[in-house]
Symmetry: C2
């Protein structure tokens, strides 16, 4: 039997050197054409599972509290926004909660780093999506020395505790690092500058961040190592090819939802009696 | 030239008797097949306009503050949720803000009826979608006498003031009444009761509401009459046919966004200089 994407893409337990992980690989599928042909059915499957998760939390006498949280991290232009658009596009927006985290506001900075994260968690039955997340507090914060080491270093442990708590309360966390190569990022930045309809997506600050590429890769490797747990593992998604990125994350979400295994809730009313009432109305 | 959907579907200025408006009509398009063939291009057009609205509010030195708010109202099973799913499915979720209003919470009831509405408004550049809205406060509230007449009656005027204020602040409001026939509602309720994967969507309270059909139609007619303004007109969408409902609302959104006419923002940086910086990085 083919290996699951959960197994194929999970970060290995040993320290990971990101430079050695090819960003243009496509494990688990032969070609763009094969992935493209599979996508419509996968989209339907994902939509069905999402509806069932949503229904389980709503109907019946014993609503389930399961939810799923997809965390997306990656360098600028790695495709976090594109993933949100393409992977969630097939799902019902009523069952989605999508949050894009920017630099924290003044108010957010007066709280602990998980405060704004907790406020954005998916409700029971929802699929939450984080475009950036609490991981920024051990990524840009570490690389840019935004707080001293004695403040960011304990965060790895705090994150593990937090994610364990989420799991205990019914939220399955799926963490995806969108892995692009340094060359691919250059291409994508140049493409933005070459297209009048993409100029607004470009920010001169992106080049400043790019110059810190090695420091960021190191910070990502540390985060992947220190916070990939059995409860909330990290997945490294080769993301130089957008089609593979979308395909792989769709597969991961399907596999995750299949493990959550949501059930249609039993009706909390008498179906035959209600049919009669409707017919007579 | 063909009439716009904005003209075709706008509530007439004269008092409307909803029973006389056919719910299975399909003005502006010959057949389901024609609509289906047009939809992919319309979806692309809508997605492009949404991106441009979003971009306009973000980039450049003089961000625009325009946003759009789609308000969906209609009887149970009229397809509000389905509209959200199909019409917004083509758009980028980052530029969408979708809110489904339920019975107000205790906290919400301690405030004026527009308090929770204001909190859910789209940000600059977003397309907001309300599945139910402030109109419930002159619909179910009126039909069920949830507050005395002297409290709900002034709300028509308050709503008009509120929507004028929204327009003045840059939000274009598009209000759609999903018009289904009483027979079609019966079919849809029975369909829910006949399908194990749809039982969770059924609520015995739906039949209680259905028994008040004439009172609801009267309350809807009053709302359409008293709050359809030049600034924020109501549209009556024949909604017995789901394909027409999705097609017509997509057209209305496109026409609305074309009137808003968002522009790609000019870059607030030197493009040539940035190209050089990226190439050297």
């Amino acid at each position: 039997m083919a290996k699951s994407f959960t197994d194929l893409l999970r970060v290995p337990d040993t320290l990971v050197d990101l430079a050695k992980v090819p960003a243009d690989a496509h494990p688990g599928v032969k070609s763009k054409k094969d992935a493209g042909q599979a996508m419509p059915k996968l989209g339907e499957r994902l939509a069905d599972l999402q509806e069932q998760l949503f229904a389980q939390a709503r109907g019946g006498t014993r609503p389930g509290h399961a939810s799923v949280l997809l965390v997306l991290q990656g360098m600028d232009t790695s495709g976090k926004g594109g993933t949100v658009k393409h992977v969630t596009g097939v799902m019902d927006p009523g069952g989605l909660r999508i949050t894009s985290f920017k630099a924290p506001t003044e108010e957010e900075l007066t709280h602990d780093f998980l405060w704004r994260i907790r406020k954005a968690l998916p409700a029971a039955g929802q699929v939450g999506v984080f475009d950036r997340s609490h991981y920024e507090d051990v990524l840009v914060v570490r690389v840019r020395n935004l707080v001293p080491r004695e403040q960011w270093e304990p965060r790895y442990g705090l994150i593990n505790e937090f994610e364990q708590e989420l799991a205990d309360l019914g939220t399955t966390v799926v963490k995806c690092f969108l892995h692009i190569s340094r060359d691919e990022q250059k291409e994508r930045l140049l493409a933005r500058l070459a297209d009048p309809t993409k100029l607004w997506k470009y920010n001169p600050g992106d080049v400043d961040e790019r110059k810190l590429w090695p420091a960021y890769q190191e910070a990502y490797a540390a985060a992947l190592n220190l916070t990939s747990t059995a409860t909330a593992p990290w997945f490294v998604i080769p993301a130089d090819r957008k089609w593979y990125r979308n395909f792989a994350i769709t597969q991961l979400l399907i596999e995750t939802l299949e493990r959550v295994n949501p059930q249609w809730p039993p009706p909390d009313y008498d179906v035959a009696k209600e049919k009669k009432r409707v017919l007579e109305s």
